[in-house]
Symmetry: C2
Subunit: 191 residues, 2 copies
DNA sequence: GTCTATACATCGATAGAC
DNA sequence: GTCTATCGATGTATAGAC
Protein backbone atom coordinates (compact mmCIF):
# COMPACT_ATOMS: atom_id res chain seq x y z
CA UNK A 1 0.00 0.00 0.00
CA UNK A 2 2.83 2.40 0.83
CA UNK A 3 6.48 2.28 -0.14
CA UNK A 4 8.55 -0.24 1.68
CA UNK A 5 10.73 2.56 2.99
CA UNK A 6 7.88 4.01 4.99
CA UNK A 7 8.04 3.22 8.67
CA UNK A 8 5.16 1.55 10.45
CA UNK A 9 4.46 4.82 12.23
CA UNK A 10 4.28 6.69 8.95
CA UNK A 11 2.04 4.07 7.39
CA UNK A 12 -0.34 4.42 10.31
CA UNK A 13 -0.36 8.20 10.02
CA UNK A 14 -0.86 8.11 6.25
CA UNK A 15 -3.71 5.64 6.35
CA UNK A 16 -5.32 7.67 9.13
CA UNK A 17 -5.00 10.84 7.06
CA UNK A 18 -6.74 9.17 4.13
CA UNK A 19 -9.56 7.84 6.26
CA UNK A 20 -10.08 11.11 8.11
CA UNK A 21 -10.43 12.81 4.75
CA UNK A 22 -12.82 10.21 3.36
CA UNK A 23 -14.92 9.42 6.42
CA UNK A 24 -14.10 11.92 9.15
CA UNK A 25 -13.06 11.17 12.71
CA UNK A 26 -16.31 9.58 13.85
CA UNK A 27 -16.42 7.37 10.77
CA UNK A 28 -12.84 6.15 11.09
CA UNK A 29 -12.15 3.08 13.20
CA UNK A 30 -8.79 1.79 14.41
CA UNK A 31 -9.57 -1.46 12.64
CA UNK A 32 -9.96 0.29 9.29
CA UNK A 33 -6.72 2.18 9.87
CA UNK A 34 -4.82 -1.02 10.60
CA UNK A 35 -6.21 -2.83 7.60
CA UNK A 36 -5.28 0.01 5.27
CA UNK A 37 -1.82 0.34 6.77
CA UNK A 38 -1.32 -3.41 6.71
CA UNK A 39 -0.14 -3.66 10.30
CA UNK A 40 -1.43 -5.38 13.42
CA UNK A 41 -3.29 -3.98 16.38
CA UNK A 42 -0.22 -4.06 18.58
CA UNK A 43 1.82 -1.72 16.40
CA UNK A 44 -0.72 1.02 16.63
CA UNK A 45 -0.95 0.92 20.41
CA UNK A 46 2.81 0.72 20.64
CA UNK A 47 3.38 3.92 18.66
CA UNK A 48 0.26 5.82 19.72
CA UNK A 49 -1.81 6.04 22.85
CA UNK A 50 -5.06 5.43 21.00
CA UNK A 51 -7.33 6.76 18.31
CA UNK A 52 -7.26 10.42 19.41
CA UNK A 53 -3.47 10.43 19.65
CA UNK A 54 -3.03 8.93 16.19
CA UNK A 55 -5.65 11.26 14.74
CA UNK A 56 -3.81 14.24 16.20
CA UNK A 57 -0.59 13.20 14.46
CA UNK A 58 -2.50 12.74 11.20
CA UNK A 59 -4.33 16.06 11.46
CA UNK A 60 -1.10 17.93 12.21
CA UNK A 61 0.59 16.49 9.15
CA UNK A 62 -2.39 17.25 6.92
CA UNK A 63 -2.52 20.81 8.22
CA UNK A 64 1.18 21.28 7.52
CA UNK A 65 0.86 20.03 3.97
CA UNK A 66 -2.13 22.24 3.31
CA UNK A 67 -0.28 25.32 4.52
CA UNK A 68 2.69 24.48 2.32
CA UNK A 69 0.47 23.93 -0.71
CA UNK A 70 -1.49 27.13 -0.16
CA UNK A 71 1.67 29.10 0.34
CA UNK A 72 2.95 28.09 -3.08
CA UNK A 73 -0.13 29.65 -4.70
CA UNK A 74 -0.23 32.72 -2.49
CA UNK A 75 3.47 33.49 -2.86
CA UNK A 76 3.46 32.96 -6.62
CA UNK A 77 4.05 35.67 -9.21
CA UNK A 78 1.53 38.28 -10.23
CA UNK A 79 -0.58 41.02 -8.76
CA UNK A 80 -2.48 40.54 -5.50
CA UNK A 81 -5.63 39.78 -7.51
CA UNK A 82 -3.78 37.19 -9.55
CA UNK A 83 -2.35 35.51 -6.47
CA UNK A 84 -5.78 35.26 -4.89
CA UNK A 85 -7.08 33.84 -8.16
CA UNK A 86 -4.21 31.33 -8.20
CA UNK A 87 -5.19 30.25 -4.69
CA UNK A 88 -8.86 29.92 -5.64
CA UNK A 89 -8.14 28.04 -8.84
CA UNK A 90 -5.30 25.82 -7.73
CA UNK A 91 -5.61 22.14 -8.36
CA UNK A 92 -8.18 20.67 -6.03
CA UNK A 93 -9.88 17.34 -5.72
CA UNK A 94 -13.13 19.22 -5.32
CA UNK A 95 -15.45 16.31 -4.59
CA UNK A 96 -13.19 15.05 -1.83
CA UNK A 97 -13.55 18.36 -0.02
CA UNK A 98 -11.00 20.07 2.20
CA UNK A 99 -9.10 17.64 4.42
CA UNK A 100 -8.85 20.28 7.12
CA UNK A 101 -12.16 22.14 6.86
CA UNK A 102 -14.07 18.87 6.82
CA UNK A 103 -12.96 18.19 10.36
CA UNK A 104 -15.04 21.10 11.64
CA UNK A 105 -18.14 19.01 10.99
CA UNK A 106 -16.83 16.25 13.23
CA UNK A 107 -18.39 16.60 16.68
CA UNK A 108 -15.56 14.76 18.41
CA UNK A 109 -12.94 17.00 16.79
CA UNK A 110 -14.70 20.24 17.63
CA UNK A 111 -15.27 19.05 21.20
CA UNK A 112 -11.57 18.29 21.69
CA UNK A 113 -9.40 21.41 21.91
CA UNK A 114 -6.26 19.49 21.07
CA UNK A 115 -7.73 18.05 17.87
CA UNK A 116 -9.36 21.32 16.89
CA UNK A 117 -6.22 23.41 17.42
CA UNK A 118 -4.40 22.49 14.17
CA UNK A 119 -7.61 23.13 12.23
CA UNK A 120 -8.12 26.52 13.82
CA UNK A 121 -4.46 27.48 13.36
CA UNK A 122 -4.40 26.51 9.70
CA UNK A 123 -7.52 28.48 8.85
CA UNK A 124 -6.35 31.42 10.94
CA UNK A 125 -2.98 31.39 9.20
CA UNK A 126 -4.61 31.28 5.76
CA UNK A 127 -6.89 34.14 6.65
CA UNK A 128 -4.00 36.34 7.77
CA UNK A 129 -2.03 35.55 4.62
CA UNK A 130 -5.03 36.41 2.42
CA UNK A 131 -5.74 39.59 4.37
CA UNK A 132 -2.17 40.77 3.86
CA UNK A 133 -2.49 40.20 0.12
CA UNK A 134 -5.73 42.15 0.01
CA UNK A 135 -3.96 44.99 1.83
CA UNK A 136 -1.19 44.93 -0.76
CA UNK A 137 -3.83 45.20 -3.44
CA UNK A 138 -5.32 48.18 -1.67
CA UNK A 139 -1.94 49.87 -1.41
CA UNK A 140 -1.44 49.32 -5.13
CA UNK A 141 -4.88 50.71 -5.92
CA UNK A 142 -6.16 47.37 -7.17
CA UNK A 143 -8.82 46.95 -4.48
CA UNK A 144 -11.03 49.65 -3.00
CA UNK A 145 -9.75 51.21 0.21
CA UNK A 146 -13.24 50.90 1.62
CA UNK A 147 -12.93 47.12 1.87
CA UNK A 148 -11.92 45.49 5.13
CA UNK A 149 -9.03 43.20 4.27
CA UNK A 150 -9.72 40.66 7.03
CA UNK A 151 -13.37 40.48 6.06
CA UNK A 152 -12.53 39.89 2.41
CA UNK A 153 -10.08 37.21 3.49
CA UNK A 154 -12.88 35.49 5.40
CA UNK A 155 -15.13 35.73 2.35
CA UNK A 156 -12.48 34.15 0.14
CA UNK A 157 -11.91 31.29 2.57
CA UNK A 158 -15.63 30.77 3.09
CA UNK A 159 -16.25 30.66 -0.65
CA UNK A 160 -13.73 27.84 -0.96
CA UNK A 161 -15.01 25.87 2.02
CA UNK A 162 -18.62 26.40 1.02
CA UNK A 163 -17.82 25.56 -2.58
CA UNK A 164 -16.96 22.06 -1.46
CA UNK A 165 -20.37 21.79 0.18
CA UNK A 166 -22.15 22.85 -3.00
CA UNK A 167 -20.09 20.48 -5.11
CA UNK A 168 -20.64 17.49 -2.86
CA UNK A 169 -24.36 18.22 -2.63
CA UNK A 170 -24.72 18.09 -6.40
CA UNK A 171 -22.13 15.41 -6.97
CA UNK A 172 -20.26 17.62 -9.41
CA UNK A 173 -17.36 20.07 -9.12
CA UNK A 174 -19.20 22.61 -11.30
CA UNK A 175 -20.84 24.44 -8.40
CA UNK A 176 -17.47 24.96 -6.73
CA UNK A 177 -16.14 26.57 -9.90
CA UNK A 178 -19.22 28.77 -10.19
CA UNK A 179 -18.81 30.09 -6.68
CA UNK A 180 -15.16 30.86 -7.32
CA UNK A 181 -15.88 32.61 -10.61
CA UNK A 182 -18.63 34.64 -8.95
CA UNK A 183 -16.25 35.78 -6.24
CA UNK A 184 -13.52 36.62 -8.75
CA UNK A 185 -15.97 38.69 -10.77
CA UNK A 186 -16.79 40.68 -7.64
CA UNK A 187 -13.13 41.16 -6.76
CA UNK A 188 -11.87 41.91 -10.26
CA UNK A 189 -10.20 45.33 -10.53
CA UNK A 190 -12.04 47.77 -12.79
CA UNK A 191 -9.00 48.45 -14.95
CA UNK B 1 -38.81 15.39 25.90
CA UNK B 2 -41.42 16.35 23.31
CA UNK B 3 -45.02 17.39 23.78
CA UNK B 4 -47.32 14.60 24.71
CA UNK B 5 -49.32 15.25 21.59
CA UNK B 6 -46.45 14.24 19.37
CA UNK B 7 -46.80 10.78 17.90
CA UNK B 8 -44.14 8.15 18.36
CA UNK B 9 -43.27 8.51 14.70
CA UNK B 10 -42.81 12.25 15.07
CA UNK B 11 -40.73 11.86 18.19
CA UNK B 12 -38.44 9.50 16.32
CA UNK B 13 -38.12 11.90 13.41
CA UNK B 14 -37.48 14.88 15.67
CA UNK B 15 -34.82 13.16 17.73
CA UNK B 16 -33.18 11.94 14.54
CA UNK B 17 -33.16 15.46 13.13
CA UNK B 18 -31.44 16.77 16.25
CA UNK B 19 -28.83 14.03 16.23
CA UNK B 20 -28.13 14.35 12.50
CA UNK B 21 -27.50 18.04 13.05
CA UNK B 22 -25.28 17.50 16.07
CA UNK B 23 -23.37 14.38 15.07
CA UNK B 24 -24.11 13.62 11.42
CA UNK B 25 -25.36 10.37 9.95
CA UNK B 26 -22.31 8.26 10.72
CA UNK B 27 -22.23 9.55 14.29
CA UNK B 28 -25.90 8.87 14.96
CA UNK B 29 -26.91 5.43 16.23
CA UNK B 30 -30.40 3.97 16.46
CA UNK B 31 -29.80 3.51 20.16
CA UNK B 32 -29.12 7.21 20.66
CA UNK B 33 -32.24 8.07 18.66
CA UNK B 34 -34.41 5.78 20.76
CA UNK B 35 -33.06 7.09 24.03
CA UNK B 36 -33.66 10.69 23.02
CA UNK B 37 -37.13 9.91 21.74
CA UNK B 38 -37.91 7.85 24.82
CA UNK B 39 -39.23 4.85 22.91
CA UNK B 40 -38.16 1.24 22.57
CA UNK B 41 -36.33 -0.50 19.77
CA UNK B 42 -39.47 -2.13 18.46
CA UNK B 43 -41.26 1.14 17.74
CA UNK B 44 -38.55 2.34 15.46
CA UNK B 45 -38.49 -0.81 13.36
CA UNK B 46 -42.26 -0.84 13.27
CA UNK B 47 -42.53 2.68 11.79
CA UNK B 48 -39.34 2.65 9.73
CA UNK B 49 -37.39 0.08 7.82
CA UNK B 50 -34.13 0.98 9.51
CA UNK B 51 -31.66 3.75 10.07
CA UNK B 52 -31.47 4.96 6.43
CA UNK B 53 -35.26 5.09 6.15
CA UNK B 54 -35.67 7.07 9.36
CA UNK B 55 -32.81 9.38 8.39
CA UNK B 56 -34.48 10.03 5.05
CA UNK B 57 -37.69 11.12 6.76
CA UNK B 58 -35.69 13.36 9.08
CA UNK B 59 -33.62 14.89 6.30
CA UNK B 60 -36.71 15.61 4.22
CA UNK B 61 -38.38 17.43 7.08
CA UNK B 62 -35.26 19.44 7.85
CA UNK B 63 -34.89 20.40 4.19
CA UNK B 64 -38.51 21.55 4.03
CA UNK B 65 -38.14 23.72 7.11
CA UNK B 66 -34.95 25.27 5.79
CA UNK B 67 -36.59 26.17 2.51
CA UNK B 68 -39.53 27.74 4.32
CA UNK B 69 -37.24 29.74 6.57
CA UNK B 70 -35.04 30.94 3.72
CA UNK B 71 -38.05 31.90 1.68
CA UNK B 72 -39.25 34.24 4.41
CA UNK B 73 -35.99 36.19 4.18
CA UNK B 74 -35.72 36.11 0.41
CA UNK B 75 -39.32 37.17 -0.18
CA UNK B 76 -39.22 39.95 2.37
CA UNK B 77 -39.46 43.65 1.60
CA UNK B 78 -36.69 45.76 0.14
CA UNK B 79 -34.41 45.93 -2.84
CA UNK B 80 -32.70 42.83 -4.22
CA UNK B 81 -29.55 43.77 -2.33
CA UNK B 82 -31.51 44.16 0.88
CA UNK B 83 -33.21 40.79 0.44
CA UNK B 84 -29.88 39.07 -0.09
CA UNK B 85 -28.58 40.84 2.99
CA UNK B 86 -31.63 39.69 4.94
CA UNK B 87 -30.90 36.12 3.89
CA UNK B 88 -27.23 36.40 4.85
CA UNK B 89 -27.95 38.04 8.20
CA UNK B 90 -31.01 36.10 9.26
CA UNK B 91 -30.97 34.51 12.67
CA UNK B 92 -28.65 31.54 12.64
CA UNK B 93 -27.25 29.25 15.28
CA UNK B 94 -23.88 29.71 13.66
CA UNK B 95 -21.84 27.28 15.73
CA UNK B 96 -24.31 24.49 15.08
CA UNK B 97 -23.75 24.83 11.36
CA UNK B 98 -26.25 24.21 8.58
CA UNK B 99 -28.43 21.16 9.23
CA UNK B 100 -28.59 20.48 5.50
CA UNK B 101 -25.13 21.48 4.27
CA UNK B 102 -23.52 19.51 7.06
CA UNK B 103 -24.80 16.30 5.55
CA UNK B 104 -22.56 16.74 2.51
CA UNK B 105 -19.60 15.84 4.73
CA UNK B 106 -21.21 12.54 5.63
CA UNK B 107 -19.77 9.78 3.44
CA UNK B 108 -22.82 7.55 3.82
CA UNK B 109 -25.18 10.36 2.82
CA UNK B 110 -23.20 11.37 -0.25
CA UNK B 111 -22.89 7.73 -1.29
CA UNK B 112 -26.67 7.20 -1.10
CA UNK B 113 -28.57 8.98 -3.87
CA UNK B 114 -31.82 8.84 -1.94
CA UNK B 115 -30.34 10.51 1.13
CA UNK B 116 -28.41 13.04 -0.91
CA UNK B 117 -31.39 14.05 -3.06
CA UNK B 118 -33.13 16.33 -0.53
CA UNK B 119 -29.81 18.01 0.20
CA UNK B 120 -29.10 18.58 -3.47
CA UNK B 121 -32.63 19.82 -4.16
CA UNK B 122 -32.61 22.27 -1.27
CA UNK B 123 -29.32 23.82 -2.26
CA UNK B 124 -30.32 23.87 -5.91
CA UNK B 125 -33.61 25.55 -5.05
CA UNK B 126 -31.85 28.17 -2.94
CA UNK B 127 -29.38 28.87 -5.69
CA UNK B 128 -32.13 29.45 -8.25
CA UNK B 129 -34.01 31.74 -5.89
CA UNK B 130 -30.87 33.78 -5.21
CA UNK B 131 -29.98 33.91 -8.90
CA UNK B 132 -33.41 35.29 -9.74
CA UNK B 133 -32.97 38.03 -7.13
CA UNK B 134 -29.59 38.95 -8.55
CA UNK B 135 -31.19 39.21 -11.99
CA UNK B 136 -33.84 41.51 -10.59
CA UNK B 137 -31.06 43.65 -9.16
CA UNK B 138 -29.40 43.75 -12.56
CA UNK B 139 -32.65 44.78 -14.24
CA UNK B 140 -33.03 47.56 -11.70
CA UNK B 141 -29.46 48.71 -12.23
CA UNK B 142 -28.41 47.73 -8.72
CA UNK B 143 -25.91 45.08 -9.78
CA UNK B 144 -23.54 45.20 -12.75
CA UNK B 145 -24.83 43.55 -15.93
CA UNK B 146 -21.44 41.93 -16.32
CA UNK B 147 -22.09 39.62 -13.37
CA UNK B 148 -23.36 36.10 -13.93
CA UNK B 149 -26.40 35.75 -11.69
CA UNK B 150 -26.04 32.01 -11.12
CA UNK B 151 -22.37 32.40 -10.27
CA UNK B 152 -23.12 35.13 -7.76
CA UNK B 153 -25.82 32.93 -6.27
CA UNK B 154 -23.26 30.16 -5.83
CA UNK B 155 -20.87 32.60 -4.18
CA UNK B 156 -23.55 33.75 -1.74
CA UNK B 157 -24.44 30.19 -0.81
CA UNK B 158 -20.80 29.16 -0.52
CA UNK B 159 -20.04 32.10 1.74
CA UNK B 160 -22.76 30.98 4.12
CA UNK B 161 -21.77 27.32 4.09
CA UNK B 162 -18.09 28.13 4.38
CA UNK B 163 -18.81 30.67 7.09
CA UNK B 164 -19.99 27.84 9.29
CA UNK B 165 -16.70 26.06 8.72
CA UNK B 166 -14.70 29.12 9.74
CA UNK B 167 -16.84 29.67 12.80
CA UNK B 168 -16.65 26.09 14.00
CA UNK B 169 -12.89 26.00 13.43
CA UNK B 170 -12.38 29.00 15.70
CA UNK B 171 -15.17 28.15 18.11
CA UNK B 172 -16.72 31.58 17.60
CA UNK B 173 -19.43 32.97 15.31
CA UNK B 174 -17.30 36.04 14.54
CA UNK B 175 -15.65 34.57 11.45
CA UNK B 176 -19.03 33.78 9.92
CA UNK B 177 -20.07 37.38 10.37
CA UNK B 178 -16.82 38.62 8.85
CA UNK B 179 -17.28 36.52 5.75
CA UNK B 180 -20.81 37.78 5.32
CA UNK B 181 -19.81 41.42 5.81
CA UNK B 182 -16.98 40.98 3.31
CA UNK B 183 -19.36 39.58 0.72
CA UNK B 184 -21.90 42.34 1.33
CA UNK B 185 -19.21 44.99 0.91
CA UNK B 186 -18.37 43.47 -2.50
CA UNK B 187 -22.01 43.32 -3.53
CA UNK B 188 -23.05 46.73 -2.22
CA UNK B 189 -24.40 48.99 -4.94
CA UNK B 190 -22.27 52.06 -5.61
CA UNK B 191 -25.16 54.51 -5.16
C1' DG C 1 8.33 -3.67 17.67
C1' DT C 2 5.02 -6.58 15.95
C1' DC C 3 1.78 -10.08 16.25
C1' DT C 4 -2.54 -12.73 17.85
C1' DA C 5 -5.90 -13.46 21.38
C1' DT C 6 -9.09 -11.64 24.17
C1' DA C 7 -12.39 -8.34 26.49
C1' DC C 8 -16.30 -5.73 26.83
C1' DA C 9 -19.40 -2.17 24.92
C1' DT C 10 -21.95 -0.61 21.06
C1' DC C 11 -23.99 -1.06 16.22
C1' DG C 12 -27.82 -2.12 13.44
C1' DA C 13 -31.27 -5.46 13.01
C1' DT C 14 -34.55 -9.38 14.16
C1' DA C 15 -37.73 -12.30 17.11
C1' DG C 16 -41.36 -12.76 19.57
C1' DA C 17 -44.13 -11.69 23.93
C1' DC C 18 -47.80 -8.59 25.30
C1' DG D 1 -47.85 -0.61 18.38
C1' DT D 2 -44.69 -1.15 21.88
C1' DC D 3 -41.68 -3.66 24.63
C1' DT D 4 -37.55 -6.71 25.96
C1' DA D 5 -34.40 -10.29 24.55
C1' DT D 6 -31.18 -11.69 21.58
C1' DC D 7 -27.97 -11.83 17.51
C1' DG D 8 -23.62 -11.46 14.81
C1' DA D 9 -20.46 -7.88 13.59
C1' DT D 10 -17.70 -4.03 14.72
C1' DG D 11 -15.47 -0.45 17.89
C1' DT D 12 -11.76 0.59 21.00
C1' DA D 13 -8.48 -1.09 24.05
C1' DT D 14 -5.49 -4.48 26.78
C1' DA D 15 -2.63 -8.76 27.54
C1' DG D 16 0.92 -11.25 26.61
C1' DA D 17 3.64 -14.35 23.29
C1' DC D 18 7.51 -13.91 20.15
Amino acid sequence: MYTARMSTQDRLIESTRELLWERGYVGTSPKAILERAGVGQGSMYHHFQGKPDLALAAIRRTAEELRASAQRALDGPGTPYERIRAYLERERDVLRGCPVGRLTMDPDVVANDELRAPVDETIGWLRERLARIVEEGQEQGQFARSLDAREIAATVLATVQGGYVLARASGSPAAFDSGVRGLLSLLRPAS
